[in-house]
C-alpha cells in the first residue's frame, strides 16, 4: 500500500474533514526513523530526560559485547528468510534494556561470566576461546530447561532471560516485522476475516447481524438515527 492510499484511508470520512493544527503532509505514516533516532513525540520532558540519560550510559564491557554478539546470533540466526538478531541490532537493544530494567543487570553480567566459569571447568579455557562445537556443547546444557541438570540451573535461568530479550528484540525490529509477516499498523478498512480463513476454522458470521455490521462503503456517510435509535441514511 502506498503513501497516497494510506492517507486516503486515514482521511476518508466526513466531507471537508480537516485536522486542526496538523497538515496531512506532516503525519507521515510510513516514516521509519534512523536506527539511532527514537521518537520523542507525546513524551514528557521528564521521560525524555530519562531516555537520554540511559542512552548516554554504557553497561556492557567490550568483552561482554563480543560474547553477546555471538550468543544472539546463535539464538536467532540468519536463515533463508531473513537476517540474524545481530543483523537486527539486538545487542544495542539489550544494552538499553538492562539499564532500563536494572534487575536484569546482575543476571546478564553474572550469566555471561558463568559461561566462562563453565568453560574453564570443562575445557580449561574461557568461553570465547573455545571452538564453536565446544561453545555449543555448553549452550546445549542450558538451552533446554526441561532436560537440563540441576548443576546448570543458573545457566538455564540466564539463557531463558537472554532468549527472551533476543527474541523480543528481533521480532520488534523492522527486520523481525517483515520476517513475521505482521501487516498491520497502517490505515485500512476492516471488513472481517477472509473467507478462506473462516472456512479453514469452520466459523461463519451470524447472518442475523449481516445488515448490522459496518459496511465499508458506508464509512463516509454521516450517521443519523430515528427516534428509536435505528440508523437511517
Amino acid at each position: 500500500m502506498n503513501r497516497r492510499e494510506n492517507l486516503k484511508l486515514l482521511f476518508t470520512g466526513a466531507s471537508g474533514f480537516l485536522l486542526a493544527g496538523c497538515s496531512v503532509e506532516e503525519s507521515s505514516v510510513e516514516e521509519v526513523p534512523a536506527p539511532s533516532g527514537f521518537s520523542t513525540a507525546g513524551r514528557s520532558p521528564e521521560e525524555i530526560a530519562i531516555d537520554k540519560k540511559l542512552l548516554s550510559e554504557t553497561f556492557f564491557t567490550e568483552k561482554e559485547v563480543e560474547k553477546l554478539n555471538y550468543l544472539v546470533e546463535v539464538i536467532i540466526p540468519a536463515d533463508e528468510d531473513s537476517g540474524s538478531a545481530l543483523d537486527a541490532g539486538v545487542p544495542d537493544f539489550i544494552e538499553f534494556m538492562v539499564k532500563d530494567i536494572p534487575s536484569y543487570q546482575t543476571h546478564m553480567r553474572g550469566g555471561l561470566r558463568w559461561l566462562d566459569n563453565r568453560a574453564l571447568d570443562r575445557f580449561d579455557q574461557e568461553f570465547m576461546d573455545l571452538s564453536n562445537d565446544q561453545r555449543i556443547s555448553i549452550i546445549d546444557e542450558i538451552a533446554y530447561p526441561d532436560k537440563a541438570g540441576p548443576e546448570v540451573g543458573n545457566g538455564v535461568r540466564f539463557f531463558n532471560i537472554l532468549r527472551d530479550l533476543t527474541s523480543t528484540g528481533y521480532f520488534t525490529s523492522k527486520m523481525g516485522f517483515d520476517d513475521l509477516g505482521y501487516v498491520g499498523n497502517r490505515p485500512n478498512v476492516w471488513d472481517g476475516v477472509p473467507e478462506h480463513v473462516l472456512e479453514k476454522y469452520g466459523v461463519a458470521y451470524d447472518p442475523r447481524l449481516e445488515d448490522v455490521y459496518l459496511k465499508p462503503d458506508q464509512r463516509g456517510v454521516v450517521a443519523q438515527w430515528d427516534d428509536q435509535g435505528n440508523l437511517i441514511g
Binding site: S15, F38, Y144, G192, V203, Y213, L214, V222
Partner: protein, 579 residues
C-alpha cells in the same frame, strides 16, 4: 502554558477543575450556555493530531525499550502521562490495606488512553440496594439519565447493536465491526456454555457523526489517542471544541490546592500552584465544578478547610472520601493450538475487542451479589516488548507435521520459525465486575505527607470482602470453561483462595468512584441528586465521585451523562440567580 495572573483579574462564571470526561462535558455545556469558563488542568496540553504529540501508528523500534511499560504502565506509546506512581506526587496507604491510584496528568486526563468501552448503566444498576439489600440506591434512576445517555451517544458516537437486554439498555449505535477470528471461536465456545457474546459497545466512530471528526481507520491503537479524533477523548471531543466556540480559558500545569470560600461558606474560586514557576495563583468564579477524578476531587474538598467547613468543604456529613470503590478484575489466558500457523492478514481492527459478554446470570442463585462482564483479547496484534518471550515454557505447544511437540527453550533457526508459527495463538479473558461500596473503604488526608507542591496527599484504606473474592472465583471458573471449550491449553495455574482468586488490587481497574456520593439524606451523602454539595450550593462534582454504586459497566459513559445533567442544572440555577 498557564496565564500570568496572580490574583483573579477577571471573574469567571464557572471554574472547572480537571479536563477529563466530567470536566470536559461541563466545559462544553456551560460555555455553550454563554458562561465564561476556566478549565484548570494539573497536566500539560495534549492534542494527538499534533505531530509532536502523536504516538499513534508508530512502530516499536521508535522506542528504545520497544514500547515496554518501564516508564508508563501501559508502555511508551500509551497516551497516559502519569500512571499508578508519579514522581513527587505520592499517596499513602494504611497498613494491611491496598489501593493503587492511577492518574493521567494531561489535557483530557485518562480519557486519552481508556478502553472506550461505553456501557450505559441499566435500571437495576441504580437500585442495587432494593434488589440485594447491600449498599444504597441512587437518588436517581435510569429514566433520569436516559435522555442524557441518548444525547451522549449522538454527540460522541458509540458502536454497538440493539439487543433488548433489560439491564444493558440499547442506545443510538453506529455499526459495529465484524468479529476477529479468535472472537468467532470464543463465540462458538460460549454458545455451547450458554454464555452470551454480543458486539462490543465502544465510543469509536465507524461512521462519522459530524464534519469535525474523522472515522476509524482500524489501527487498534485507541489507547494511543487518535490523530483523526475518531474515538472519544475529552480534549479532542469536548474541551478543544468548547474553546473554539465559547469563552473558555484553559489553565494547564496548574495544580489546584483548594477551593476558596467566603464567610458564608460559599465557594469563591480556587487556589492553584503553577508547576511552571511553583507559585500560587487564585481564580475567582460564581460556581466551582470539580471534575478532577473521584479521589482528587475528594482530596481538594478535604484540603479546603475553613471556619464554616472545618472538616473540609462540603464534608459536614463526614462522607467525603468514604465509599471509595473500584471495579473488580481477574484475567486468564490460554494457547489455542488450532491457531498455530495462521494465515497472515491485517487483523488490527478497532481499538479493544469487537465482542464482549455482558453479565448474564441471576445473583440470587450465586454466592456473590453483583455481576461482571467479560472482555476478550487475542489475535495478530502488533508485536511490542514481550513478544516472542516465554518460549522456555510455551514452545512445546507447537507441533511438527508428525505431531511431535517442539522442545521447550532451545535456540537457532527452529526457534525462530516456531515463534513465527506461534503468532496470534493466544487468547485471553478479563472479568470486570461490580464491587460492594463500603463505608469502611475510604481515602482521607494523610496528616504527615505532602506532595512536591506542598499539598497534603491522600491516604487510602481499602480491602476487598468475600463478595468480591467469590465473584473472582466465579470469573475464573467461567474463563476455564470458555477457554477449554475452544480447545485452549490454559496458561499458568488457576488462582485459589490463598492468592485471592487472582483478584487485582483495588484501583488496578482504574474505575474508582463513590468518594463524594449523591443522596437525598445530607447526613450520609455529600451531594444532592443534582451533584450539588449539600453544604455549599455553588460547588458541584462531575467526575466519578457522585456514583452511589459502580455497576459492572465502565463508568465513563455515566460520568458523561451525569456531568451533562449536572451542567444543565447549573445553567438553570445560574439563570434563575439561585447561585
Amino acid at each position: 502554558m498557564s496565564f500570568e495572573i496572580k490574583e483573579g483579574s477577571q471573574e469567571y462564571d464557572a471554574i472547572i477543575v480537571g479536563s477529563g470526561a466530567g470536566g470536559g462535558m461541563a466545559s462544553k455545556i456551560l460555555s455553550e450556555a454563554g458562561f465564561r469558563v476556566a478549565v484548570v488542568e494539573a497536566g500539560g496540553d495534549f492534542d494527538p493530531a499534533k505531530e509532536e504529540h502523536r504516538t499513534q501508528l508508530r512502530f516499536p523500534w521508535e522506542s528504545p525499550r520497544r514500547g515496554a511499560g518501564t516508564i508508563r504502565p501501559f508502555g511508551d506509546f500509551d497516551a497516559a502521562i502519569g500512571g499508578w506512581l508519579i514522581d513527587g506526587e505520592p499517596y499513602t496507604k494504611s497498613s494491611g490495606t491496598r489501593f493503587d491510584w492511577f492518574r493521567s496528568r494531561m489535557l483530557g486526563g485518562r480519557t486519552n488512553h481508556w478502553g472506550r468501552i461505553s456501557l450505559r448503566f441499566g435500571p437495576n444498576d441504580f437500585k442495587r440496594s432494593s434488589i440485594d439489600g447491600l449498599g444504597h440506591d441512587w437518588p436517581i434512576g435510569y429514566d433520569d439519565l436516559k435522555p442524557y445517555y441518548d444525547r451522549v451517544d449522538k454527540l460522541i458516537g458509540v458502536f454497538g447493536t440493539k439487543e433488548g437486554i433489560y439491564n444493558e439498555p440499547d442506545g443510538f449505535f453506529l455499526p459495529p465491526p465484524k468479529p476477529r477470528l479468535h472472537e468467532l471461536l470464543i463465540k462458538k465456545s460460549a454458545d455451547k456454555a450458554n454464555i452470551p457474546v454480543i458486539p462490543s459497545r465502544l465510543s469509536i466512530l465507524t461512521r462519522p457523526i459530524n464534519n469535525e471528526r474523522g472515522v476509524c481507520f482500524f489501527c487498534n491503537q485507541c489507547n494511543r489517542a487518535c490523530q483523526a479524533y475518531a474515538d472519544f477523548s475529552s480534549g479532542t471531543c469536548l474541551v478543544k471544541p468548547a474553546m473554539q466556540k465559547g469563552k473558555v480559558d484553559l489553565y494547564t500545569n496548574s495544580m489546584v490546592r483548594k477551593v476558596t470560600t467566603n464567610d458564608r461558606g460559599e465557594a469563591t474560586g480556587v487556589s492553584y500552584v503553577s508547576k511552571e514557576d511553583m507559585r500560587e495563583y487564585k481564580l475567582k468564579s460564581r460556581v466551582v465544578v470539580l471534575g478532577a477524578s473521584a479521589c482528587e476531587s475528594a482530596r481538594i474538598m478535604l484540603n479546603s478547610k475553613s471556619k464554616t467547613h472545618p472538616d473540609g468543604l462540603g464534608n459536614h456529613s463526614g462522607m467525603v472520601g468514604r465509599y471509595l470503590h473500584d471495579s473488580t478484575g481477574a484475567d486468564r489466558m490460554a494457547v489455542i493450538p488450532d491457531l498455530v500457523d495462521r494465515d497472515r492478514y491485517n487483523e488490527d481492527g478497532t481499538g479493544g475487542m469487537h465482542v464482549y459478554t455482558p453479565w448474564w446470570l441471576d445473583n440470587k442463585k450465586l454466592d456473590f451479589a453483583r455481576g461482571y462482564h467479560i472482555e476478550f483479547w487475542g489475535g495478530m496484534g502488533m508485536p511490542s516488548y514481550g513478544f516472542g518471550t516465554g518460549m522456555d515454557t510455551l514452545r512445546s505447544h507447537i507441533k511438527d507435521e508428525f505431531g511431535t511437540p517442539s522442545p521447550n527453550g532451545g535456540y537457532g533457526a527452529g526457534l525462530k520459525k516456531d515463534i513465527k508459527r506461534f503468532f496470534g495463538t493466544t487468547v485471553g479473558m478479563s472479568g470486570r465486575g461490580e464491587s460492594i461500596p463500603r463505608y469502611e473503604n475510604y481515602c482521607e488526608i494523610d496528616p504527615l505527607t505532602v506532595d512536591k507542591y506542598g499539598i497534603p496527599v491522600l491516604k487510602f484504606n481499602y480491602n476487598w470482602t468475600d463478595q468480591e473474592l467469590n465473584q473472582a472465583k466465579h470469573m475464573h471458573d467461567t474463563f476455564e470453561e470458555l477457554l477449554t471449550g475452544m480447545g485452549g491449553k490454559l496458561l499458568g495455574t488457576k488462582p485459589g483462595k490463598e492468592n485471592e482468586y487472582g483478584l487485582h488490587a483495588p484501583g488496578r481497574i482504574i474505575h474508582e468512584v463513590g468518594t463524594t456520593r449523591m443522596g437525598n439524606d445530607p447526613s450520609n451523602s455529600v451531594l444532592n441528586s443534582n451533584c450539588q454539595s449539600h453544604d455549599c450550593k455553588n460547588l458541584f462534582v462531575v467526575d466519578g465521585g457522585p456514583f452511589v454504586s459502580q455497576a459492572d459497566k465502565n463508568p465513563t459513559w455515566t460520568i458523561l451523562a451525569l456531568a451533562w445533567r449536572t451542567s444543565d442544572y447549573i445553567v438553570d440555577q445560574m439563570k434563575k440567580q439561585n447561585i
